[in-house]
């Protein structure tokens, strides 16, 4: 199936607009497509008429252009007929927003639509979904533009069974400065399911990280999914819901009892190097880190701090996340020492964590991070940056970011997120260095890179 008309349409039609109710979901979508996006949008309603000074077509076949993507937002009973007319009228794909199918027990109608679409090689998303959000291109969300929080264009794609989780996660992505390449709410996932989008996004040049919110798979679908993820070579992050066991199901063996549905899910994901986020917070941290650094590491962390306490706290956090803090060789220590400013050289603790003390300047941070980046003992650098120290300037983020560009060794920073440090933080973020507002969050970012290593 060709998904390009679905995700990269030039022409769109919204079927089911109301001529009287401005707040009808179809109208919200049509208005957005008409006013905000570069696509050509057409409205369809059997009654015809005029909407937003534009003609409303009585049938999809009356639209004067070939439609790449139709948004269907009519009552469930009408949807199969509409789908049929779309296929007959040469429309190339659809998003079915309408609810009232398998989720209300009407599985037969839904199955009929799937058969029809398969027969015609016609891709559709849904039903019972928000559909697609493609930054700066189009969206099919029936949520008014002013109510949506829109992450910037970026390289993370997010696929969600739940539209609510998707929209809420977009708020968190935007807050953390994570850019989206595509977001899809798949609803009942009648035809297009996680596995299909995984395969599509694996080949999508604009996507570097693929994230999922998954409630469950069909029979053996999990197996296909992990095998496809293994092949795809882009980091895959999964937030799983429905972890607790339902009721007291009878178990017939130790294995059935110990290998419950979630235990299997979680451990198989790990086996194939898919990073399972335990909660939304981890999902955001993992996506941010992997959008900057898609390559797996083994998790040997070199820490640079100006505060002994932060060093100890971060060592504890690393240990609880399965990361190691290797000792530094004399060669590495000497190299760093040689490049420190004279006043810091005498008082800095040249071990791991490297404590540069409150006297440290930007140049000392650079000396430490440079030394660590050239050492084979560690494969990731964690910078604990407390901008209270007078020697640290707003340029430090941008300057440190060059280390990754030069050496390819990933660097993650902790900086307290308050407005007055914004420029310093942007110095990191705009240069694709992930920054967290907590030590725990920064450590999670490091962990993300380890979690995409199959084990």
């Amino acid at each position: 199936m060709d998904y390009s008309p679905l995700f990269k349409p030039d022409t769109m039609a919204v079927i089911g607009v109301s001529l009287t109710n401005e707040r009808h979901p179809a109208n919200v979508i049509y208005n957005k497509l008409l006013l905000r996006y570069p696509v050509k949008a057409y409205a369809v309603n059997p009654k015809g008429g005029i909407l937003q000074q534009e003609k409303v077509y009585t049938d999809i076949s009356m639209v004067p252009e070939t439609i790449d993507h139709a948004v269907i937002a009519a009552k469930a009973d009408y949807v199969p007929k509409i789908l049929e007319s779309c296929i007959a009228g040469g429309v190339k794909s659809a998003t079915i927003i309408s609810g009232g199918f398998a989720e209300t027990g009407k599985t037969d109608i839904q199955n009929r639509m799937v058969d029809m679409a398969r027969e015609a090689d016609f891709p559709f998303i849904g039903p019972n979904c928000l559909g697609i959000y493609s930054p700066q291109q189009f969206d099919t969300f029936f949520l008014p533009a002013e109510r949506l929080v829109r992450p910037e264009l970026g390289n993370v794609s997010f696929v969600s069974q739940s539209g609510g989780v998707l929209v809420d996660q977009m708020v968190k992505f935007a807050g953390q400065g994570i850019g989206l390449s595509l977001a899809v709410s798949i609803g009942n996932k009648a035809l297009i399911r996680e596995i299909h989008l995984l395969e599509y996004l694996a080949e999508d040049p604009n996507t570097d990280v693929i994230a999922f919110y998954i409630e469950g798979f069909n029979q053996n679908e999990g197996r296909e999914f992990v095998l496809a993820a293994e092949k795809c070579r882009k980091p895959v992050v999964v937030l799983k819901a429905g972890k607790s066991r339902q009721g007291s199901r009878a178990v017939s063996s130790h294995t059935a009892s110990l290998a419950g549905d979630y235990e299997v899910f979680s451990q198989v994901l790990r086996q194939f190097g898919i990073a399972e986020a335990k909660n939304e917070y981890e999902l955001v941290s993992f996506c941010e880190a992997l959008s900057c650094y898609p390559k797996a590491i083994t998790g040997r962390v070199g820490i640079v701090t100006v505060s002994g306490g932060h060093g100890v706290l971060s060592v504890d956090a690393c240990a609880s996340h399965g990361l190691s803090i290797p000792a530094l060789s004399a060669a590495t220590r000497n190299k760093i020492k040689a490049h420190l400013s004279p006043s810091v050289r005498e008082i800095a603790a040249l071990v791991n964590p490297l404590d540069l003390t409150g006297s440290a300047t930007d140049d000392d941070f650079l000396a430490a991070a440079n030394g660590l980046s050239q050492s084979s003992e560690i494969d990731c650098i964690l910078i604990l940056l407390l901008p209270y120290s007078p020697g640290i300037s707003s340029d430090i983020g941008a300057r440190l970011s060059h280390i990754y560009l030069k050496t390819g060794k990933p660097l993650v920073a902790y900086v307290p997120h308050v407005e007055k440090y914004r420029m310093l933080i942007e110095g990191f973020e705009l240069n694709r260095i992930p920054v967290s507002s907590s030590i725990e969050g920064a450590v999670l970012m490091v962990e993300a890179m380890k979690r995409v290593l199959p084990c």
């Binding site: 798979f217 069909n218 992990v226 009878a250 017939s252 063996s253 294995t255 110990l258 290998a259 451990q267």
Partner: protein, 250 residues
């Protein structure tokens, strides 16, 4: 392999689970090490097995009506002579649904559990863990999707909290990792072949030593086999036919 295993699974369709003698036959077909044993319907067969293989032996009741052998005192280990074996055989023969006695050589080593399950979402999966009565208390297990590669088994071992019991601990002998890897890979391949015919398999305990990894007890549950039959966590086991060092238990 499937061709040879299929009749044994078919024969168990009625009870819903494969009894120990057939379960061990299935494992042997898959190339998995099982103790020398004989399924004896008559006393003279049991005595002849012990005569040939030597005492001590273990004896377990075989009955389609008894899935929890230990609960009905249906397992006796360390049987030292003919008289003791006669007595055990006589007692077992009066149990519900008695069809025979499974007489076996005694085996020793660290107690592991090896399991399999046909998962709805992921198909056949295999489990390795610290076995014995405590399996559901310690819950120290690793699960992976079948089939397994050598690196998978090594990763499973190192992910266990009590991995030292396998790798050697305070002077106790390490388990033969090559044998354990061989068992796990062979078992996972068997599960791939018969996955649609089984619900779950427990090999508990598998006794692993420096020489061998041998399955001391096995149970194969067929799909829907024990529907509502067991509502509590299964505590049935018979590890007592094995010699465990005190370190092994700690």
């Amino acid at each position: 392999m499937l061709k040879k295993i299929k009749p044994l699974l078919d024969a168990a369709a009625e009870t819903g689970w494969v009894m120990e003698p057939d379960a061990k036959k299935i494992l042997a077909i898959a190339g998995i090490d099982v103790p020398e044993s004989a399924y004896c319907r008559r006393l003279d067969q049991a005595l002849s097995f012990a005569g040939t293989n030597g005492f001590p032996v273990a004896a377990k009741v075989v009955s389609p009506e008894i899935i929890h052998k230990s609960d009905v005192d249906g397992v006796v280990v360390g049987i030292e002579d003919k008289a003791a074996l006669e007595k055990v055989f006589d007692r077992f023969s009066r149990m519900d649904g008695f069809t025979g006695v499974h007489v076996e050589e005694m085996v020793a080593g660290a107690e592991l559990i090896v399991g399999a399950k046909t998962d709805y979402q992921f198909g056949p999966v295999v489990m390795l863990g610290i076995g014995g009565t405590g399996v559901e208390i310690y819950r120290d297990t690793a699960i992976k999707m079948a089939p397994l590669k050598k690196a998978d088994v090594i990763a499973m071992i190192s992910s266990l909290t009590a991995k030292e019991l396998i790798q050697g601990y305070r002077g106790s002998e390490a388990v033969n990792i090559g044998k354990l890897v061989g068992l796990m890979i062979g078992f996972s391949e068997m599960v791939m072949e018969i996955g649609d015919r089984i619900e779950s398999i427990d090999l508990n305990p598998v006794m692993c030593s420096a020489d061998r990894c041998v399955v001391a007890d096995a149970r194969i549950i067929l799909p829907g086999g024990l529907d509502g039959g067991i509502s509590t966590i299964d505590q049935d086991r018979d590890t007592s036919n094995t010699c465990i060092t005190s370190e092994g238990l700690l």
